[in-house]
Symmetry: C2
Subunit: 335 residues, 2 copies
DNA sequence: CTGAAAGCGCTTACAG
DNA sequence: CTGAAAGCGCTTACAG
């Protein structure tokens, strides 16, 4: 095992100053260094298998070329896909990403944020949770670049890249109405998360604009976590009574999975008796006999945009960019 | 926006040396510092909202408290789940993890490895790909702590945590035979990855030990990526001919997804006409009318074990630990 | 009980 | 064209 070489080692061997070695290896002061010396420095650097110590460089330059990504849970496919696209885009620009999962908990979130800041990340990409505004205020107050993804706070003037959830739900309901459905139910979340509430708003607005009655019992809400049972109950309720629904809008692929499992066991014919549209894709929904129609989020674009907005804001602390992206209706057999 | 406070700022304000501040804040030299001064230092540190700069600390201590995780693709649920468990375990021990996806490419792998090492990670957890031994040799030669997960190289004497893939396949086939299946086919990968070949070996050995004939056409191999079509062809072939298979062992949940999609459209009755056992779980396989029986990997344990082996080896560079964990047969309706 | 000093491995403004 | 020097923000062996 050879010891790691430093600039100093190279400098000594070549017989020049570390400054010169640094300049050459970083291609600074290009024309102003004699070809011969530069050549020799590169040669020795290569011989010694020199690699620059980024920690040392970071300390001096006050840039770590690292961005922190905080999501609710990296094992959730939505976030892991997003993370992958962010990783790729960041890598392209010479940045490395460190990832943390907050599980939607404020404490974990703050702890992650602090850890990342202590490590001097250059900026953060954040899928924030409910009641996390105050931590974001800290970032704002301290002038730390960040951009929100997926979730954002309407009252907070910050960078974000999100889906136009209102529009997406509106579009979905409209499609169902066009197809002649008259009794559209929705299973959504009981939450403070603005982006999820936008989906309910879109559902209601679409019905209202087409002058369909808005029945209270048609919009069911379930908890954000561990809601499998509640989802089954909600779907059961929507399908019961004297006027069962003939279409279902499901606010997430998680809800859709649970709902479809139940419907599978109920021998209700999809889409004949019941049309289904879900938010987000999921492999599971492909395997259902009537593959589920869904509102697709442009994950790759969202990730790239978020990354680039962040990098812009790291480089020159300028304007605030807010983007609401359009969802695409992917029509398959369930609706 | 307040400027970030450093040790020096605190020292100046309190009127002591930075050394003293450092000692107090790190709880070093406990008894040997006057309570009053210590108290005052903590007070001012809190007032100034002091946070230690980990980059500076790392430069001095030569420890970054960071581990690098290299997988094939973080958006693959197998790896994202593994990553989450690793993140949790690492966090518990005060480490942060940075993640990179190699896409099974040697170049990307090496680039990631170099990037992580330049950032002075304390160690690496690696799901290596084919032909990556030479890069691992580099780590060994340079005494850099690492542990392999999921995949390993039998000829390489390194830490690893993997599944006993041979045993898992053996167990699966045995179970099928016990249930009276006589014509068991397998769809596996055509690859150099040792752990995947172990699955084939287990399949063959189980048949042999029970003196079942080993028919060449019964073991189909498909490429590691983009193999959807090949999988469909393989399954079709196994189900055709004068003696179709009555049971199928599928070497991954990806293969299982494609296979089940096809079988779904073929109106073959599972498990009556065809029993199915897959490797690894997948939400998708739950939604099939006959939920798929599978060999479950103890992901959480694997992740924790890998993390702890790495941390041990970071702290005191000692022995090599190799673990082959047992898979659990999760019996559901498909077999 | 406390401090001066060296040093981790870089970068960069300055001087020549 | 090249180098001496300062400094990034810490830690720690040493001395008193």
């Amino acid at each position: 095992m050879k010891k790691k070489a430093s600039l100093k080692d190279i400098a000594q061997k070549v017989g020049v100053s570390t400054a010169l070695v640094s300049y050459v290896l970083n291609n600074k002061k290009e024309g102003r260094i004699s070809k011969a010396v530069a050549e020799r420095i590169r040669e020795v650097a290569h011989e010694m298998d020199y690699r620059t110590n980024q920690i040392a460089r970071s300390l001096k330059t006050r840039k770590t070329q690292t961005i922190g990504l905080i999501v609710a849970d990296i094992s959730n496919p939505f976030f892991s896909k997003l993370a992958r696209f962010i990783e790729d885009e960041a890598d392209k620009k010479g940045y490395t990403v460190i990832i943390g999962s907050s599980d939607e908990y404020q404490d974990k979130f703050r702890k992650l944020m602090d850890t990342f800041l202590d490590r001097q990340v250059d900026g953060l990409i954040i899928a924030a949770g409910a009641k996390m505004e105050k931590h974001l205020h800290y970032l704002i107050d301290n002038n730390i670049p960040f951009v929100l993804v997926d979730r954002y706070f309407p009252k907070l003037h910050t960078n974000y890249v999100a889906l136009d959830n209102f529009g997406a739900a509106y579009k979905a309901v409209n499609y169902l109405l066009e197809k002649g459905r008259k009794h559209i139910g929705m299973v959504a979340y009981d939450t403070e998360l603005h982006h999820l509430n936008e989906r309910k708003r879109g559902y209601l607005a679409a019905l209202k604009d087409k002058q369909f009655p808005i029945l209270k019992g048609r919009l069911k809400e379930v908890a954000l976590v561990n809601s499998e049972l509640a989802i089954e109950r909600a779907v059961t309720a929507l399908l019961a009574g004297k006027q069962p629904v003939d279409a279902l809008l499901l606010s997430s692929s998680y809800i859709a999975n649970s709902a479809v499992k139940l419907i599978n066991s109920l021998s209700i014919k999809v889409p004949d008796e019941l049309a289904i549209i879900s938010f987000d894709e999921s492999e599971a929904l492909d395997l259902f006999y009537a593959p589920i129609t869904y509102m697709k989020q442009p994950l790759c674009e969202m990730a790239q945009l978020a990354t680039n907005i962040l990098l812009d804001s790291i480089e020159k602390n300028n304007k605030v960019t807010q983007v609401n992206m359009e969802a695409e209706l992917i029509i398959r057999q369930s609706a």
